[in-house]
Point group: C2
Chain length 539, copies 2
Amino acid sequence: MNERRLNFWGWGYEDEWPTGQQLSALSEGLRQHIGFGSDELELPVRLDQIELPSPKLKPPTALAKICSSTVYDRVTHAYGKSYRDVIRAFRGRFDHPPDVVAYPSNEREVENLLEWCVDQSAAAIPFGGGTSVVGGVEPAVGDGYAGTVSIDLKRMDQVLDVDSVSQAARIQAGATGPKLEDQLKPHGLNLRHYPQSYEFSTLGGWIATRSAGHFATLNTHIDEFVESLRVLTPEGLWESRRLPASGAGPSPDRLLVGSEGTLGVITESWVRVHARPEYRASSVMHFPDFKSGSRAVREIGQAGLYPANCRLVDPVEAALTGTGGGDRAVLLLSFESADHPVDEWLSVAVERCREHGGTEASNEGYDETGRLLGVEPGADQADSWRDAFLRAPYLRDIMVAMGVVVETFETAVTWDRFEDFHSVVIEAVKQAVVGVCGTGMVTCRLTHVYPDGVAPYFTVLAPAKRGSELEQWREVKEAASEAVLANGGTITHHHAIGRDHRQWYDRQRPQPFAEALAAAKKALDPAWVLNPGVLLDRT
Amino acid sequence: MNERRLNFWGWGYEDEWPTGQQLSALSEGLRQHIGFGSDELELPVRLDQIELPSPKLKPPTALAKICSSTVYDRVTHAYGKSYRDVIRAFRGRFDHPPDVVAYPSNEREVENLLEWCVDQSAAAIPFGGGTSVVGGVEPAVGDGYAGTVSIDLKRMDQVLDVDSVSQAARIQAGATGPKLEDQLKPHGLNLRHYPQSYEFSTLGGWIATRSAGHFATLNTHIDEFVESLRVLTPEGLWESRRLPASGAGPSPDRLLVGSEGTLGVITESWVRVHARPEYRASSVMHFPDFKSGSRAVREIGQAGLYPANCRLVDPVEAALTGTGGGDRAVLLLSFESADHPVDEWLSVAVERCREHGGTEASNEGYDETGRLLGVEPGADQADSWRDAFLRAPYLRDIMVAMGVVVETFETAVTWDRFEDFHSVVIEAVKQAVVGVCGTGMVTCRLTHVYPDGVAPYFTVLAPAKRGSELEQWREVKEAASEAVLANGGTITHHHAIGRDHRQWYDRQRPQPFAEALAAAKKALDPAWVLNPGVLLDRT
């Protein structure tokens, strides 16, 4: 298999990191655009400069052929891809590299790996695309383990069955977005779940973390796509029945969805797929301000129209990403269907926008589905939205090299609280940013819409003090998380809990639920080897 | 409070049981309609004929004022309302009456009751409307308990908060359908969750059993309405945060939804409500057969149209209920919206029907939402559908008096299996019915529609052998359940598990999930007092 190598310290493929001249031009463009960031670019550590402690585990002969302890394998499984992760990896700091990285090709091998981990008292960390931005795959497991094993599912990436009648497919957990879409395509089907990590993240990872994707309404989270699951726990196989719906006791699947590798290793799932959309209707609306735009979004969310995209971008972010809204908020609105024209749907939604002061803007700068182009400054506007959207994390890494703090956080909140929530959170985070970075900006967009509330997504950009980025990041993160929690939001709508959100998650969840979940884990994973520290502490 | 008294042996209100002349006329009409049933009507036991063993528990003084051990209270909490329950109660057989029936008015009283039960080793059975058709509230708790306490939530029936901005309301668990709708009405809102038990069943009961209601698509189950929950467990209060959506670990609410009183007593829920529909469009389509109708239903389910009603009735049932389809299958199709006209939605759906041989029938015999009128033979066709739909269980009780076995069962199955499933299940149940009753009929309708599958609802009518009804019922139930399970269905789409579905539920659920659930229960209810035997056996 001739694979493109993944970058060991940052986002995506190694060969995407720009060379000297290109890097300077891109960073100069970014600097002009955001107004800060150093023109002295820091260079990332080279792989040959990295020294890791010797691995504390040695796999038995039977497992040796699927295990690796090379520096490259260990460092690419040491972190996810949060700003905090990249800052550390960029400078060659690897706090908790796994001792062993395993690449099972089938369930038997996963089982054997789990058995070995239990026998050795080694922590086992299920690993999909490694794109966690919340410390979900970092082997920071605390004391009491003989070592850590990262179980990378990448070799289990096949679409095993396609049921075109029910529009469902059985897919292995290690399939990335492009891998599974390529295999569904010949059947005229697709999953249409596009988180920003789509290119690298995997079905199993999406399910474990309750990721959210393309759809602004209805099928926002992967939760809604899951028809059944196959999961290996240390106590045996957990396989649920394929069902379109059921009322037979609490849903088994819903206990696993969001379990973040703590209850078992997801190996397969039947997921609901879709016929390729044939009809689209989209519009870009401008609003005098974010508040009036958000009221239109609420009405659309409560009208039963179910747009595929309904993304409201605030004026600062709209200006930053060059969407041409001037000082106005921009709403990207689109409907799609494999079955029938959706112009009528769009026209009702546009009417609701007009009632809140919205005006129709030119479609220029947006792709045919109404999605924003040109996330990358100076990018060819004819690039597809997907390229731009998916390339954004590469730009984040250039900003790291420029000395810019980049953090995103996201939440969901009911509509009655939303307007206050939005101003209080923005204000609290701005204060923290100014306090710790001197200046900076905080922007917001609404990404997912529900009848009773909305999911706001915030971006923070600020000048870094080199060498103090982790402290700066922590102050911003804490201010954001405290404000979100105090004002009725959830600590995460789709980035998951991992290790970074634990303290706020613990305060958010009902205490009896924490006890029930810990008891459930103990029943499934009595040796407590699966992803320790995520969601729960060992009891 | 001047309450209408509930019938202690059968459905609904005591005063709805028809008097002699009316009863004869109704039963004669039914007999002509279905072609069997005795003209010698058996009469139900009188309350004063019933003797119960003395209660084994005596509440402490502090609780005495909210507790009762009268014969009436004990027998009305001894069973749900399944055919099996009614047969037993009708003849004065009460196998497991609770020793005490408690009527708490607030959470403090619920807490005190749970404490008392734990202290006494008494089983505590949360009780909503008592309309379970699966033995969910029958105090058949097995050995090891000092007695049984039925905790009836009827006094906790208030809408406590209405959030019109988010379209949500905080409602006490004991509110019945009409009670909560009456309180929502002044706000221009409604829940629009109408299970057939709507008039008597409660929000808490719906949540505990994952009931399904009015909507044929999207919001089929109460699961989708729940925004947050307040639940008292023996280990403390479980309260989840109001959120439109979240990705913070496995959903706490989804572990409670469907827990059937085994994990705690639901006392309140924030639920998503709706503005009253202002626009409707409906159509009645006839199909040459059930199969072609089901294919149209599948296309509609996969088209993203989301009809409120999409109910396909097979020719036998259509003839039986007088819907005028002749030997054709009848599809009741309707769209509704509070926001915009939905004619375009309907016309796309009708087009899909035509492609599968559907023809538009007159709307006569249906109400304005396209719902079937005239479930009751001879009923005034101008009655609202709701009256007819909600009155059907009263007719069931007349059939009991006539010596007719009446059983319904329901399931969900993926589309790829549906056509075979339908014929195999019908055939298996028919064989059992003929074997045990000599003759009878099995009909099917599709009640809820999903992109990847459908929920079929079956009705069995057959002549009873008096005195052998319970054995007849058991044979039919077992044949149905075995066929459903063997052919890929769920043992229940919305009737829940209770005690009657346990053996099939145990085979359906993943074994590791059963262990996780038992461990969770043990953590929340260490004395295992909550509804023992439902979902789980004591461990």
